[in-house]
């Protein structure tokens, strides 16, 4: 990886160019349903289990932190409200992002990268088929879909985990926990989280595709591409998350 400014600019330019190409190829027919369904199934199969397993302790940690905090402040009745809010707004998009980038993005990048070095991509272009339309667009859409669904799953599992730890382990009252659910959190929180997940999915897939399609230098090149894709995706996702959260607070009026 080179770090000269011109190289950096060229890379980000190429990344945006690919994003634009994907947008342009989006309405082109025929849509690759087969590839889309295969990819969605594949990304879902590599992310669902780890997502569920990660979100249980994630929800638990939040519940434990908030449980002890609310007890110190004497606001136990808000424990449920706060942990739902934290899981829904931040924890689930972040967990989704980590898994989509870490499990889905890497697989996409490795797949496209090995196709590139085996000249499969060249062969496809020579056969008159645009790899962006045939391969990248279905992957981007599949990743976005799975990210949105995964976000729902992580929210549910996270909230359940939080409930379990707060009520069973910290002796919270189930009634108070459940009753306070909607005192802070509101429906737009869920929509915003879903929107974040969609954007994260798109970013992860486009970065993975970009790095994969530009892999060079044999098998080692594919490894490097995957490595760079993960690092770049994580950086982009956390920045995007910050910006979207900041914008959300400006746009949607808060409760309480």
């Amino acid at each position: 990886m080179s770090f000269s400014p011109a190289q950096g600019l060229r890379h980000s330019g190429a990344l945006f160019a690919l994003a634009l190409d994907v947008l342009r190829a989006l309405p082109r027919r025929p849509f690759q349903w087969r590839e889309f369904i295969q990819q969605a199934w594949f990304v879902a199969s590599v992310t669902i289990l780890p997502a569920a397993l990660v979100s249980i302790p994630f929800g638990a940690v939040i519940a434990l932190q908030i449980g002890s905090l609310t007890r110190q402040l004497g606001a136990e009745s808000f424990a449920g409200a706060a942990s739902v809010l934290a899981v829904l707004r931040e924890a689930s998009p972040i967990v989704t992002a980590l898994l989509i980038a870490g499990a889905g993005g890497t697989a996409i990048c490795a797949d496209l990268g090995s196709r590139r070095i085996r000249e499969e991509i060249d062969a496809m272009e020579v056969l008159g088929i645009d790899p962006v339309h045939r391969l990248v667009v279905p992957r981007v859409l599949a990743t976005m879909l799975v990210a949105a669904l995964l976000n729902g799953l992580v929210s549910v599992v996270g909230v359940c985990g939080g409930y379990f730890f707060n009520v069973i382990l910290q002796d919270g009252t189930p009634g108070a926990y459940l009753a306070s659910f909607t005192t802070l959190a509101q429906l737009p929180d869920l929509w915003a989280a879903e929107l974040k997940a969609l954007v994260f999915g798109a970013i992860a897939a486009i970065v993975a595709a970009h790095k994969g399609l530009n892999a060079k230098g044999g098998p080692k090149g594919v490894g490097d591409a995957v490595n760079q894709a993960v690092v770049i995706t994580f950086m982009l996702l956390f920045v995007t998350n910050f910006v979207m959260t900041a914008a959300y607070f400006q746009i949607v009026p808060q409760r309480g």
């Binding site: 196709r115 085996r118 000249e119 499969e120 060249d122 020579v126 056969l127 008159g128 088929i129 045939r134």
Partner: protein
């Protein structure tokens, strides 16, 4: 059938490294041309530039009045439908069976019913001798089979131009012979324009109408087979003989003084070191490979066969 490709002043470099410069040649419509050259002279790069996978720095490539180097992406995909390309390792799609690989272009570009696709695919698989391997994955078969499957896939859309990237590499001599015969037969049947990139002299000697030689960042020669095979140009001679003495070195180039000394040695009749590798049996014209007996010969091949018969009967008389 067949399309002419006109290349003018083509130059390509990667960063500061010039691959070749000012390459100008015309691949005549319907004829077979061979591009020779030592390893690492950018023959594959040349092939990829022709199909627009790489953009040259300067120059033009004209196909049917369109300049490939200046086309927009969308138009480029249209022009590429004229091409069939056999990549070095076949470049098959690893996740698909051979059958699906070969059916892929038909399924993507045509709306033919599956029964017709099956007929075409099996016909092409039969042509390259792959019947019975339909359900195999590219990872499960030998390099030679991958290459033949790649050829079948390049042929299904009935291209006007077929490019071969080292069709003989990784094949045994018998399969090379079959492949050469197949190339000639295909040319007689389809009338497409062929370009074969190789360093197998034996094939270059028998198969093409035209031969070109790339060396030291330029096109040393391009012309009819007879002209090149009889040429006195030192690089061409060294290549045709496959010997160490001459301008081509292990690391592509030698210093001028050494080349001069070695050429002087050769003039004095002093040969040293091995030679004759890869079918490099020296200069001189040899008989051309003709289409198999069962194949209907178009006028072009009739003329070639007649001329060959005439030349070799005369030679035969001289020899006797």
């Amino acid at each position: 059938m067949g399309v002419e490709i006109r290349v003018e002043g083509l130059t390509k470099s990667f960063g500061r490294q010039v691959i070749w410069q000012d390459v100008s040649l015309t691949l005549p419509a319907g004829e077979i041309s061979v591009m020779l050259g030592p390893s690492g002279t950018g023959k594959s790069v040349f092939l990829k530039t022709l199909v627009g996978l790489l953009r040259p720095d300067r120059g033009s490539i004209t196909i049917e009045g369109r300049d490939v180097t200046r086309l927009r992406e969308r138009e480029l995909y249209e022009v590429r439908k004229l091409f069939g390309v056999l990549f070095q390792d076949g470049a098959l799609f690893g996740s698909m069976s051979l059958y699906d690989n070969i059916a892929f272009p038909l399924r993507e570009h045509t709306r033919r019913p599956e029964s017709e696709i099956r007929r075409i695919v099996l016909e092409k698989m039969d042509m390259v001798g792959l019947i019975g391997a339909e359900e195999k994955l590219p990872g499960e078969i030998s390099g030679g089979m991958r290459k033949r499957a790649g050829l079948a896939r390049a042929l299904v859309l009935e291209p006007e131009i077929i490019l071969f990237d080292e069709p003989d590499s990784g094949l045994d001599p018998v399969r090379v012979a079959y492949l050469n015969q197949l190339i000639v037969d295909l040319n007689a049947q389809t009338g497409a324009t062929f370009l074969i990139v190789t360093h197998d002299i034996a094939s270059a000697r028998q198969v093409p109408d035209n031969i070109g030689l790339l060396f030291r960042r330029e096109l040393v020669m391009f012309g009819p087979r007879d002209t090149l095979l009889a040429s006195g140009e030192p690089v061409v001679k060294q290549f045709l003989h496959g010997r160490m003495q001459g301008p081509i070195g292990m690391a592509e180039e030698k210093d001028a003084a050494q080349v001069e000394q070695e050429l002087a040695e050769l003039d004095a009749g002093e040969h040293r070191g091995p030679r004759g590798g890869k079918g490099a049996s020296g200069e001189g014209v040899s008989p051309r490979l003709l289409p198999s007996p069962g194949i209907v010969r178009p006028p072009r091949w009739e003329a070639i066969a007649e001329r060959e018969a005439e030349v070799w009967s005369r030679e035969g008389v001289k020899g006797a």
